[in-house]
């Protein structure tokens, strides 16, 4: 089954209905393992128990960027291949990505309170994640501003792709502007500097959160498809009612003027 076969929403609904329970189960199991391992992880010699916020914070932060990547691919699908599910995927991903970004900010500031002595610091990484959050909210506002879904989809796709090009530039400029956050420590040249006792739970949590995103995303896409169906059924119903009332009264002009009013 290729991606084109999924263009049929009914087929997509059937496939996702079969996949969802498995995905949800895997997510729950991995989250349980990850949380257990994170709870068992030793305290940091400097940060104490607050280091455990990292196991939630870092996957959220990774996913906040990953989701924008998913939306960019979906936007290419909308603009280039005109895949009918692409705009559903892009629309469903935006609120989930915004939630991950918000959680990354929230856990980051909860960690910052004991460590830096303040909930908010205009540090480069925090600031660029905040800008990412603002862009997610802007995108959601764009989706909500237009009632025609296909028109909104194309506008949102252009904006998502522009954002995908601009986000690295914004990140770079904000880094240049001010930096206080510790440099990247898991993925960098010369291997990870993180101890194994932290690294393994972190990776498990990262995979669990990614699965969580896939599960939520599929479920949200199903909801969006069903929502659109309900909407088109309502429109058909409304037009049928209008048409039959027109027939029964017999005077077309009167009804047309009523409709216009």
């Amino acid at each position: 089954m290729s991606l084109i076969d999924l263009a049929n929403p009914t087929r997509f609904l059937a496939l996702s209905a079969r996949l969802l329970p498995w995905l949800a189960g895997a997510t729950i199991i991995l989250l349980a393992i990850g949380l257990y391992q994170s709870a068992l992880a030793p305290d940091d010699y400097q940060q104490g128990a607050t280091v455990k916020i990292m196991f939630i914070h870092v996957p959220n932060a990774w996913l906040s960027m990953f989701v924008w990547g998913v939306m960019s691919i979906a936007s290419l699908g909308t603009l280039v291949w005109r895949h009918p599910l692409a705009d559903v995927a892009a629309k469903a991903a935006a609120p989930i990505g915004a939630s991950f970004t918000f959680l990354a900010l929230l856990t980051g500031s909860l960690w910052g309170r004991p460590m830096w002595g303040t909930y908010w610091e205009w540090d480069a990484r925090l600031t660029s994640v905040l800008i990412l959050f603002l862009m997610y909210l802007g995108l959601m506002a764009l989706w909500r501003a237009v009632d025609d879904p296909s028109r909104a989809a194309r506008a949102a796709a252009v904006l998502t792709l522009v954002g995908a090009i601009n986000l690295p530039i914004i990140k770079f400029s904000v880094d240049w502007w001010n930096t206080l956050h510790q440099p990247a420590s898991v993925m960098r040249m010369g291997g990870s500097t993180l101890d194994k006792s932290f690294l393994i739970p972190l990776l498990v949590m990262a995979i669990a959160f990614t699965l969580l995103f896939v599960t939520l995303h599929l479920a949200a896409m199903r909801n969006e498809i069903l929502r659109r169906r309900v909407r088109s059924l309502q429109m058909m119903q409304a037009s049928r009612v209008a048409f039959s009332s027109e027939l029964s009264t017999g005077s077309r002009e009167e009804n047309a003027s009523k409709g216009a009013a």
Binding site: A141, A145, F172, W176
Partner: protein, 222 residues
């Protein structure tokens, strides 16, 4: 080529004549800068320290507000459809429109900067630095803002939504513009590095802006 220069000349003429909004941008810029001392207090030392930031913010807001109508008026009178259907590539036409907009609405802001610098107690060198960074940076604001204008016309929405979408994209320009001006005024960094990056941002947006705007117009207009 003649089509593009005709488009540029037409847009500038419309912007400068009665009904065009280009010079209102300068008036808005002036008003924002005049408002600032009321907010932070009439302390000349503080104002000269904040000066570049105030001027940059004012220019950013002024260019954003005038951009709102970049495609809207043409859409209303139907000339946007002619532009989309003409043989000139839409990307080039968008670039020409943005260039015209910058010439009509962006350049006057830079010309007004020395007067406003006087109000903010900036000395000659500082004012020159701010004007130079604005000269290098406002094209980036116009060309990224054009994307928002194109989205606005395809969605029949403007105003706040566009501002919310476009403002985050202009953060890099703001950062490097203010940094380059501050480097001249207080040091200790050199002026060259942020200024070159500012020019680079303008060049990048010169490429991205027309393509994104054209894509949005092509997909969005019906």
């Amino acid at each position: 080529m003649t089509a593009l220069s005709a488009l540029i000349r037409r847009d500038i003429r419309i912007a400068l004549r009665v009904g065009g909004g280009a010079l209102i941008g300068v008036l808005f810029f002036l008003t924002v800068v005049v408002l600032m001392p009321f907010a932070v207090g009439p302390d000349l030392a503080l104002l000269s320290r904040l000066g570049p930031a105030i001027l940059w913010l004012g220019a950013l807001l002024a260019s954003l507000l005038t951009l709102d109508r970049l495609f809207m008026a043409d859409h209303e009178d139907g000339s946007l459809d002619l532009i989309t259907m003409s043989r000139t590539p839409l990307e080039l036409a968008c670039a020409a429109k943005a260039l015209a907009h910058w010439l009509a609405a962006g350049l006057p802001l830079i010309v007004a900067t020395p007067v406003l610098g006087l109000l903010l107690n900036l000395d000659m060198v500082a004012t020159a630095a701010v004007a130079l960074t604005l000269l290098a940076g406002t094209p980036a604001l116009t060309f990224t803002g054009m994307i928002g204008a194109a989205l606005a016309v395809t969605l029949h929405r403007g105003g706040l939504l566009m501002a919310v979408l476009v403002l985050p994209l202009s953060i890099p320009v703001l950062i490097f513009g203010v940094a380059a001006s501050q480097a001249v005024i207080v040091g200790p960094m050199n002026f060259g590095a942020p200024f070159s990056i500012l020019c680079a941002l303008s060049l990048v947006s010169l490429v991205i802006g027309p393509f994104a705007a054209a894509a949005s117009l092509r997909h969005g207009l019906d």
